[in-house]
């Protein structure tokens, strides 16, 4: 029983990381109609920046803030420099351009740091307490708490504030939103910046648990995209719950079949889900550009 509780706790923590990352993907996708393959790399840049600055003697908290700032600026810059210039009639070009940026950012970081794996400060991952039979680290608790607060906050902003109304108007029809005086470009760039911040939080949390290299966020991003596909990229709660569910599923698969079972379990799941999901479950129109 304790073993199952431990597995569930680990899975929920992992799922909350996916959900936080996916929240950024959803915001960008719904407002800009773009999927960014460079998104994980933006988080990686934040983590490596924080690590390098901390190694140079800057306190951890300040290093993390600097890393997050870099991610915010980088993701916003991706929107301003590249995404805005993609013609709306070039289907799939956003994926190609962000794939190029994905490769470029990873290669630049490899040049600046190196290709090796690095261990980051544990950030509470090594301080544990037993809760309901499961060993929970401070890092785990912060991740779960942050995910609950951030996701709930995002939902409240989107559904209860004028900013949320403007964002939903942009998501529905950017041209009409612009004609009513909404600054669509600024809102879009703002969502990219917020997504950058979320990516930095997740990337730092992942890096505090395992040794990482310049490509470590790729597998996280793939799983986040998978959760988005399962739940629907044009929705709010279903994909986020799917992300948490995916984390639990992955954790259960690893506990049942061994450490190597995580990857095939997740990818076979997505193929199986796609094979049986009814077509009406996804709105093709909202995915047309992406």
């Amino acid at each position: 029983m304790d073993g199952l509780t431990q597995v569930l706790a680990g899975g929920i923590t992992q799922g909350c990381l996916y959900a936080l990352m996916l929240l950024g993907v959803l915001l960008v996708f719904q407002v800009s109609k773009v999927m960014s393959f460079a998104y994980g790399q933006v988080g990686m840049v934040a983590a490596f920046t924080a690590w390098a600055v901390n190694a140079a003697g800057v306190p951890v908290v300040l290093a993390l803030v600097l890393g997050a700032l870099v991610a915010v600026l980088l993701n916003a810059a991706i929107d301003v420099v590249a995404i805005r210039h993609i013609p709306s009639d070039r289907v799939g070009l956003d994926l190609v351009v962000t794939l190029g940026l994905f490769l470029l950012i990873a290669a630049v970081m490899q040049q600046l740091i190196d290709s090796n794996s690095h261990s980051f400060p544990a950030l509470g991952a090594d301080t544990q307490a037993t809760v309901l039979g499961a060993r929970i680290s401070v890092n785990d608790a912060v991740v779960v708490g942050l995910a609950v607060v951030v996701v709930t906050g995002a939902w409240l902003v989107l559904s209860r504030t004028s900013l949320g109304t403007n964002l939903r108007a942009c998501a529905e029809d950017a041209d009409i939103a612009a004609s009513t005086g909404i600054n669509v470009r600024a809102l879009r760039t703002g969502t990219w910046a917020v997504a950058g911040l979320l990516a930095s939080v997740v990337a730092v949390a992942v890096a505090s648990r395992v040794a990482v290299d310049a490509f470590y966020m790729t597998s996280v991003l793939v799983k986040v995209f998978i959760a988005g596909m399962i739940g629907g990229l044009d929705r709010f709660w279903p994909p986020l719950l799917a992300a948490v569910g995916l984390g639990v599923y992955e954790s259960l698969a690893v506990a049942t079949f061994g450490a190597d079972a995580g990857v095939p379990a997740v990818f076979l799941l997505i193929i199986a889900v796609l094979a049986v999901v009814p077509k009406r479950f996804v709105l093709d129109t909202s995915e047309a550009r992406a």
């Binding site: 289907v91 490769l103 290669a107 630049v108």
Partner: protein, 340 residues
């Protein structure tokens, strides 16, 4: 007599963009002779003038050209983005390796490679393409990760992370361990693949692909079976990639997981976009880029810059020159002709 007419909703006319490469040419006898002369030159000049190392690289270019031609069909002509082209290359390469190491003849290997590629392509495409292009990109990404996992965890069969030595491809008197024969063994299938893709422009299937790429709405309105067209394009690309991987293994003599991972798929996309995704010549230019440019960077002592340049080029060319280097060259030539 009164006539009734249904209200017609004004819609934006659909612009089906057909590039010069996609125009249906009417070939004169002189043009046919020029093509034949060009083919002979492509075969003879490297064979007679290249040193062994460059001949070996030319053989690899030919093998990669089959994979980029497949991506040309899928992405350039049908508008479907796959991030598993290198995965299908890997499926072909490892199928060839497994059968070759058990003494099966090249023809058996080739048939098995085609069968495996078709089945693997169908498993990915049939459930995915009925939904959306975005899902195809993401699922192919997942399939690539899954394939990499399978390779690493089947050491007894595939050599695992250490890779595997592949028996050189031997077809009749042609032994791929000899650079000249390796070049011919790579070039001949690549020419067949090129002819097939060129012929596609003249077929109904080829025109359906272009319509699906440019406007699914228009395709639907004209009765084009969209999903079937996409699936056929995906299967063609899978088989092309499988054969390319089989040739690559047989020519290179060694296969390992990094040759066929996500980054290899991205590099194939870089190659196709840089060359010109909608052009057959672009697929060849892209294949040359993917084989030759890493050698150049290695010779200059800066091998790590290959990824950096590749990423930058992919983003820049996709944004600024959608028809790639071939498109740029054609535009420049047209400008010169107008000026002259």
């Amino acid at each position: 007599m009164t006539s009734t007419s249904l209200p017609v909703r004004a819609t934006r006319p659909v612009a089906v963009t057909v590039t010069a490469a996609e125009e249906k040419p009417t070939r004169s006898r002189r043009q046919v002779l020029l093509v034949v002369a060009g083919l002979l030159a492509v075969i003879a000049v490297p064979a007679l003038t290249f040193p062994a190392f460059w001949l070996f690289l030319a053989a690899q270019v030919a093998a990669y050209a089959i994979a980029t031609l497949g991506l040309n069909v899928l992405y350039g002509r049908t508008g479907q983005l796959s991030l598993a082209q290198a995965t299908f290359m890997g499926a072909g390469a490892y199928t060839g390796y497994v059968l070759g190491s058990r003494g099966h003849a090249p023809l058996v290997q080739l048939l098995a490679v085609c069968a495996v590629s078709l089945v693997a392509g169908a498993v990915v495409a049939v459930p995915t393409l009925r939904l959306s292009g975005l899902r195809l990109a993401l699922v192919t990404l997942a399939v690539g990760e899954l394939f990499a996992w399978v390779l690493v965890h089947t050491t007894d069969l595939t050599g695992g992370t250490q890779g595997a030595n592949v028996e050189p491809l031997v077809v009749g008197p042609l032994d791929a361990s000899i650079p000249l024969f390796a070049y011919l063994l790579g070039l001949l299938p690549a020419l067949v693949a090129t002819a097939l893709v060129l012929h596609l422009d003249r077929t109904q299937l080829g025109r359906r692909m272009l319509l699906v790429r440019d406007s699914e709405l228009a395709a639907r309105a004209t009765g084009v079976p969209i999903i079937q067209t996409k699936i056929v394009a995906f299967l063609l690309a899978s088989v092309f990639a499988g054969v390319a991987g089989w040739l690559y293994g047989g020519i290179n003599g060694f296969v390992s997981p990094p040759d066929f991972n996500l980054f290899a798929s991205v590099y194939l996309l870089v190659a196709v976009v840089i060359g010109g995704a909608r052009s057959v010549l672009g697929a060849w230019v892209g294949a040359a880029y993917i084989v030759v440019v890493p050698q150049v960077f290695t010779a200059l002592g800066i091998p790590n810059l290959y990824a950096l340049v590749g990423g930058a080029l992919l983003a820049l060319v996709a944004l600024l020159a959608p028809d790639g280097l071939v498109g740029l060259a054609r535009s420049a030539a047209a400008r010169v002709r107008r000026t002259a």
